[in-house]
């Protein structure tokens, strides 16, 4: 999956993320309502777990141990650092309103993305605004976890 940005009137790819689908998994997109709804619920749970005091235990379950994202600056954010920042209040999601989550499932891999408006404080600065996010998920030990995230602000 690719995150693109329009620059100087032209769409360019800013971030990419992908995963191999197991050979014994169905290559075709799974439209099963149960699994797609599971992914969408996981996305909603993740947003809710980030709000206010942040449910660190829940986030710990949702994010894979090797979860990572690349910030706009190019800085790598790991699970350890994101949980630490939510726990300390360095990163604080005050409130948010998410639009519909679009999810696709391919065997053991899923992608989800959507738009969100956030009121967010980071390092004491208000970084509120609209953003688009995309998550890459994998099913591990029978449970879906988020392995990669990318996002960009909407102007």
């Amino acid at each position: 999956m690719d995150l693109l940005e329009k620059r100087d009137g032209k769409w360019v790819v800013l971030r990419s993320s992908g995963a191999k689908v197991w050979a014994d998994s169905p290559k075709e997109q799974s439209q099963g309502p149960t699994v797609v709804e599971t992914i969408k619920q996981l996305e909603r749970d993740m947003g809710d777990a980030m709000v206010a005091a942040a449910d660190i235990d829940k986030l710990n379950q949702i994010l894979a141990d090797d979860w990572a994202k690349i910030e706009r600056s190019g800085k790598i954010v790991t699970k350890e650092s994101v949980l630490r920042d939510f726990k300390s209040g360095k990163d604080k999601l005050v409130s948010y309103e998410a639009g519909p989550v679009d999810a696709q499932v391919f065997g053991n891999v899923a992608v989800a993305h959507g738009g969100v408006t956030e009121k967010r404080i980071r390092d004491g600065k208000d970084i509120s605004g609209e953003a688009v996010y995309m998550d890459l998920l994998k099913k591990r030990d029978g449970k879906w976890v988020v392995v990669r995230t990318a996002g960009a602000g909407v102007n």
């Binding site: 999956m1 690719d2 995150l3 693109l4 940005e5 329009k6 620059r7 032209k10 769409w11 360019v12 790819v13 800013l14 971030r15 990419s16 993320s17 992908g18 995963a19 191999k20 689908v21 290559k27 075709e28 997109q29 947003g47 809710d48 090797d66 990572a68 994202k69 690349i70 190019g74 790598i76 409130s95 948010y96 309103e97 998410a98 639009g99 679009d102 696709q104 391919f106 992608v111 993305h113 959507g114 738009g115 969100v116 408006t117 009121k119 609209e130 953003a131 688009v132 995309m134 990669r148 960009a152 602000g153 909407v154 102007n155």
Partner: protein
């Protein structure tokens, strides 16, 4: 959630959606053809991805691999591409079947 807020709504502009899909097709074609100039136009200078190994790939590294044939996409077949456009940002995702060699290995 904060009901006082409004989530950004995706655009229904078919031109924008088609333009984003075209980027995905062009990228695959350019990789097969080894068209580095086209890939340069498609990828932002600050493009990056985190590989499954956890290593970060930059645009510079991506190009080095394609130029040296360290990474070679032989063929690909894209499934349907799902695109959502929100103002100046878009997300495209779908499945791809591909034959790729890396370091001479298939």
């Amino acid at each position: 959630m904060d009901k006082g807020m409004k989530a950004p709504a995706p655009s229904n502009d078919p031109t924008a959606i088609a333009a984003v899909k075209q980027v995905s097709w062009d990228m695959g074609d350019a990789m097969v053809a080894g068209d580095v100039q086209k890939l340069d136009q498609i990828h932002a200078d600050d493009w990056a991805q985190i590989a499954s190994s956890g290593e970060v790939d930059t645009k510079e590294e991506l190009f080095r691999d394609f130029k040296s044939f360290h990474d070679k996409l032989e063929w690909f077949a894209l499934g349907p591409i799902d695109v959502q456009v929100f103002g100046n940002v878009a997300v495209a995702h779908g499945s791809v079947s591909e034959s790729r060699s890396r370091d001479g290995k298939w």
